[in-house]
């Protein structure tokens, strides 16, 4: 797969603050790529540089082969951008809103009509065609904003915190929509600090903190590279003494760093091994005649990963193999 979004040593300095301190990115075509990081990590600034809204102080980035510095107009033609905070025009109907942006991209009249119809179907707003934009719910506005970013059929979509301020139902709808877009062949770069959301969606992530990429790649790969443990939850058909015996058995296994019995009777294990190791542990437990009702990795892998990566005093030192080689330290 070829890389479609590529950044090399992006730096953005505001007076004395360094918002982005040397970010490298490499996103392959067709991926859903997550930028994970706490507030103020530089995610938004990075996305705004990619969207040609900010000029980097140093470094360069390319979208579909166009440099954001030298060919911003070409970048804009292959790019759809949805900022984290955006407003809507008063006094505008839904179809007019899309029509306006379609005109901005120079779509001919006949195409405009078809595209607006298709997009409204896609984001499920076809029945709101003649409603006023400011009267839509937040989730609908978010979907409309996503639709506006798609009028010119861009190759790459940059979404900055697309799910912020959405209720759970709207979030699920948004996720379905993004999946659908991926099947349409779009590359999506999405930033968020809500991790479970990204975990379900993204094929790759970059963990960003203080303007630097601390780790990037497929989630499982990062996990392994950082040797960060996973959390395993095991339900055993036992109570009291028997349960504690089972816990002790698990605690004695290789790669198990910690073990505890949760109030609901589930055994939680801190496990350092990879997926093969997990399978081995399960096999051994079955062989040891422990009655296992369920055995699963906890869903918040990315959260754990994130906390471990960003929680360290000197991330650059301990993450040396995956940290960018930039000398521009904050």
């Amino acid at each position: 797969m070829t890389s479609i979004v590529w950044a090399d040593g992006l730096v953005k300095r505001y007076d004395r603050t360094l918002a982005v301190a040397g970010v490298d990115l490499d996103v392959a075509e067709g991926e859903i790529f997550g930028l994970v990081g706490p507030n103020g990590a530089g995610k938004t600034t990075t996305l705004r540089i990619l969207a040609t809204l900010l000029e980097p102080t140093a470094g360069d980035a390319e979208i579909a082969g166009w440099s954001v510095r030298r060919n911003p107009n070409d970048v804009r033609r292959v790019l759809g951008f949805m900022p984290d905070v955006f407003g809507v025009y008063d006094d505008m109907r839904v179809w007019e809103y899309l029509d306006f942006f379609a005109r901005c991209y120079g779509l001919p009249a006949a195409t405009r009509k078809r595209v607006i119809g298709d997009l409204l179907e896609l984001v499920d707003l076809a029945d709101k065609r003649n409603s006023y934009v400011q009267g839509l719910s937040r989730g609908m506005q978010q979907r409309l904003c996503l639709a506006h970013a798609l009028v010119h059929d861009p190759k790459v979509l940059l979404l900055d915190e697309p799910a912020s301020g959405l209720d759970p139902r709207a979030r699920v709808e948004l996720r379905e929509l993004l999946r659908e877009l991926r099947t349409m062949g779009k590359t999506i770069v999405i930033s968020s600090h809500i991790l479970p959301e990204l975990e379900e969606l993204c094929t790759s992530v970059a963990i960003v903190d203080r303007g630097r990429v601390l780790a990037s790649g497929r989630i499982a790969d990062i996990e392994q590279r950082l040797r960060v443990g996973a959390v395993l939850r095991v339900r055993v058909l036992a109570e009291g003494e028997a349960l504690e015996t089972a816990r002790d058995w698990f605690a004695g296994q290789p790669d198990v760093a910690a073990s505890a019995i949760l109030p609901d009777g589930t055994i939680e294990l801190g496990f350092r091994g990879d997926e093969a190791g997990t399978a081995g542990l399960l096999r051994a437990a079955v062989a040891a005649d422990i009655a296992i009702a369920s055995f699963a990795r906890a869903a918040s892998d990315l959260e754990e990963l994130f906390l471990q990566v960003t929680g360290q005093d000197d991330p650059a030192a301990s993450m040396a193999p995956v940290a960018p080689g930039s000398e521009v330290a904050a």
Binding site: T17, L53, L54, R76, V85, F86, E96, C104
Partner: protein, 394 residues
Amino acid sequence: MTAATGRRRLPRLLPRLAMPGITAIGVKELRGRMRGKRAFISVTVYVILVAGFAWMVGRILEENAQNQMMFGGGFNASVQSAGIGRGIFIALMFLQTLMILVLAPASTAGTISSEREKQTLDLLAVTPISSVAIVVGKLLSALTWVFVLILASIPVTALVFVYGGVAPDDVIRGYVMLFVTAIAFGALGTFFSSLLRRSGAATGMTFVAVLISTVGLSFIWVFMNVTSQSVFARRPPEALFYLNPFVAQADVACGAEASQGSWCQIIDTITGTFTDFGVQPGFDGQPGGGVIIEKGIAVPERFVPDAPLPDVQIRGDVGFGGNANVGGVVVNDVLAVDPLAAGRDRYWPRSALTLMLLAVGFTAAAVQLVTPTRRWRPRLPGIPRRRRTGRSAE
């Protein structure tokens, strides 16, 4: 061959001039502005105001004329009627100038800043339309509304032809000046709108600038004129009035009253044209006791009874001909004479040109301020520098 090349180059040039973007912005803005009854109501109200004002001015002037006739004014009815027509025309031009000075900045001062306030400017900036298209599109669509108002007033203004005293070309001059006023002060509003983040602040600053360019600069001229009262002192530059559309309208009025009347006196005072008031015969120490005429000063015919200076531009319709009794004034030692000095269309086109240049300058500055990746950012005291992310890396 060249024509063919030119024709082929034109379509390629147009996209570069951001036409599609301007159309997109224009369609969007006008959809908003002209939706529903709003546009209809504002045009109606405007025309009613203008017409009502014209009617009242007409009534006042008619009363005056009747009184004059009654008490032996000595003029015949057609002369009186022409005076009324001119009075209404001038009053209408002044009223509309005033309204445009309010409406044009008010309709543009919010265009860019409201996009910033509503956080929609970013959505626009990531599309391929250029900053030129954004600024020009918004300016033109805001001005379209003002232009509609100006055009709607033409039928009312045309009623002055019933009275006479105003030629159609006077009306055209007046309207050209109105359009120029709208463009210049609209561009001013757009500039402040792109400079400042808040629409309220932009509107306020725009009106401060309008006041400075009209009242403020004119006051400076008056101050300089009073403090340098001497025939030989340098006259304050008339350019201080170029930004004041009222003075330009006064010049148009001067043209309508055939260069002899109260409006012409104002213009003559400003431009330094030789008038009765300026003649200071018999200065001691001057050769021949005459007056040195500086460059740029025109001498009306009545001061040159024997026309000794063929290259002096004589103002066309000097009603008094050679009858003016100026005693023993001999105009000599003419250093140079500006051939356009006393021309009828001398002052207002300069004012219009200055205003148009100003409009271009402000529009260009606004374009620069709207460009997201611009290199320079002005820092004004009291206006915190905007950080787009608002986040720091600590």
